[in-house]
Symmetry: C2
Subunit: 347 residues, 2 copies
């Protein structure tokens, strides 16, 4: 006895089917469907009825082949953590109301995957790309090629300095300065910086801000208080332990992300250091978890949602322009959110 198997249903109806069963030409159907002026109301109604009856759905692929655009935006992000998930929502928001569909891919912090994703999205004929680079990406020739080919492109957050493209970024320098200034005001003088990988541009911009703030307050720069580590909690934990074990006792740690701050917090706790009494702590990103930690974590807040929205707006602007617009960079301002982890003095 054969397995229960339902049959494949009939192929989807096309305008051709509508035309045939109505005895009119396909061009008439095409026009009727698209609400053209010069079409007999009766035939139009008949077409619409038949379309409904046959459950007609326009084939976007065929349409794209003709019009050469798909009304879709390719988005490539390194991962879908809180920050990027929020930014993607921002992109989605704007895209949706403009009638665009957002196709999101994760590069998983891999250069190879970023290239694959770029290739695939492009072959799928997305109308352009909004990209945040993977941490492993140092060579941006693949992005450069896009621009050469005239593909609309907007980079956000993780951008390449040596690429002359439209960008949306955070003022990382300023964010770091806010954090360090705050720590200074709290009486901290030996402020450590827990950084990401040395190749990571965002991390370096924040480092510059950190250094600038130290200079501004006449504090010496102690290279031993600047630690680089991979971008996850476990590495931050080890890096912090190392820092404490080295005898370089800091009285504050500023980290390049909340995730690293969490690693640092756990290490501090493990070593019996009180936060903020012994060591104050400030993170970056202001993820929801910040307010749930004990102590609650001070953090530099990024307008992730806004960032996504702006990126999408710039993208659409570029798309709708006749000529290629000269690249520009929008810089958004971060805001320091002070919580318990850095409050040594009550005001």
């Amino acid at each position: 006895m054969p397995l229960q198997r339902r049959e494949r249903p009939a192929k989807p109806a096309t305008i051709k089917d509508i035309a045939r069963s109505l005895g009119v030409s396909i061009s008439t159907v095409s026009r009727a469907m698209r609400d053209f002026p010069d079409v007999n109301p009766d035939t139009k109604q008949a077409v619409l009825d038949m379309a409904k009856q046959l459950d007609y759905q326009p084939n976007q692929v065929a349409l794209s082949l003709v019009t050469r655009h798909t009304h879709s935006i390719g988005v490539i992000v390194p991962n879908l953590d809180y920050f990027f998930a929020t930014a993607v929502r921002g992109i989605d928001e704007i895209a949706l109301e403009a009638g665009y569909t957002v196709l999101t891919c994760q590069s998983n912090e891999s250069y190879g995957r970023e290239i694959t994703n770029t290739q695939r999205l492009l072959n799928s004929q997305v109308d352009g790309l909004i990209v945040s680079l993977s941490s492993a990406t140092s060579n941006v020739d693949h992005m450069r090629r896009l621009m050469t080919r005239g593909v609309p492109l907007v980079l956000f957050d993780r951008v390449a300095t040596d690429l002359d493209a439209t960008k949306v970024v955070l003022d990382n320098h300023d964010g770091a300065m806010q954090a360090v200034n705050h720590l200074f005001e709290q009486g901290c003088r030996r402020i450590a910086y827990l950084a990401g990988p040395p190749s990571f541009s965002i991390s370096n911009q924040r480092k510059d801000g950190y250094l600038a703030a130290l200079r501004q307050h006449g504090l010496p720069v102690n290279e031993d208080l600047i630690i680089h580590c991979e971008f996850d909690q476990a590495h931050a934990y080890r890096a912090t332990e190392q820092l404490l074990a080295s005898g370089q006792q800091p009285d504050a740690i500023f980290t390049v992300s909340d995730r690293l701050a969490i690693g640092a917090l756990l290490a501090l706790r493990h070593r019996g250091q009180r936060v903020p009494e012994d060591v104050a702590l400030v993170g970056f990103n202001d993820e929801p978890v910040a307010s749930l930690l004990t102590p609650t974590l001070s953090s530099v807040s990024q307008p992730a949602f806004e960032m996504g929205k702006v990126a999408a707006q710039l993208f659409l602007e570029q798309l709708n322009s006749e000529s290629i617009l000269p690249p520009r960079t929008i810089v958004l301002k971060p805001v320091l959110v002070v919580r318990e982890s850095s409050l040594k003095r009550r005001p």
Copy 2:
């Protein structure tokens, strides 16, 4: 003086361009590109060279129009929180190695958006859909229509009971029982259940497990200890306050998600209730935040990544089958992770 404007670059090269500049026919080019057996090695090399020289990229849209499939999978999720972001990574993992691209859309817990997304993805000719339903979705006719049209479909996590489709779900009943059993063993006898909206099937399955566990232990069911609220922290906070104010003092709260558990935890803390001494707490999802709370949160862990992978596998299986496979449901088992918030007794 006119604005600086670069010109639009030339249109992308097609096989036709290659053919013309080589003086061969397009079919020869087509065959050479795809490594067909019967093509002269010399011409083949010439084609490949020219393709590189012209920076030829195959037009996926045109190809799709012919082959009737796009090698892409549409994914619709209610949001991109930790659970879904992880599940999407799982889908991505499997899809990538099978040569498929994943196009992710968020319904934002909106029924309307879910329909729009379905429509758009379908018109983009994705080869099928992997969907987790929005919380606002009660009518699943749009999914039913997909199935009628023979569109491969896999539902995961948030599925519809009245839809005979292929599904990947968690054994929610079992997860809830594990949680309540554990609380019972810890000496809790007045165990409250903080539920999601009454229409929410996952919430109800967990409720059934909760009730079953109570029965199993001979505990009475107290309807006042079952509270429904919206799916966010703020509502959970209010609901918990209400529960405490009502005089129905529970000695444990089991919540339908970690997010609700956090709301409950904050409310308990605010009311001066100690966790776990006065009220034990167990959440659901085991998000990373669980181990960062104070006290650390016991939670029922879902294999989100695995769930995504299985969903993608079932999807591909369906896609590669000649006939339409009879729908089946894969049930994954949750694991209770015990942490401080529910440990009244040290073993």
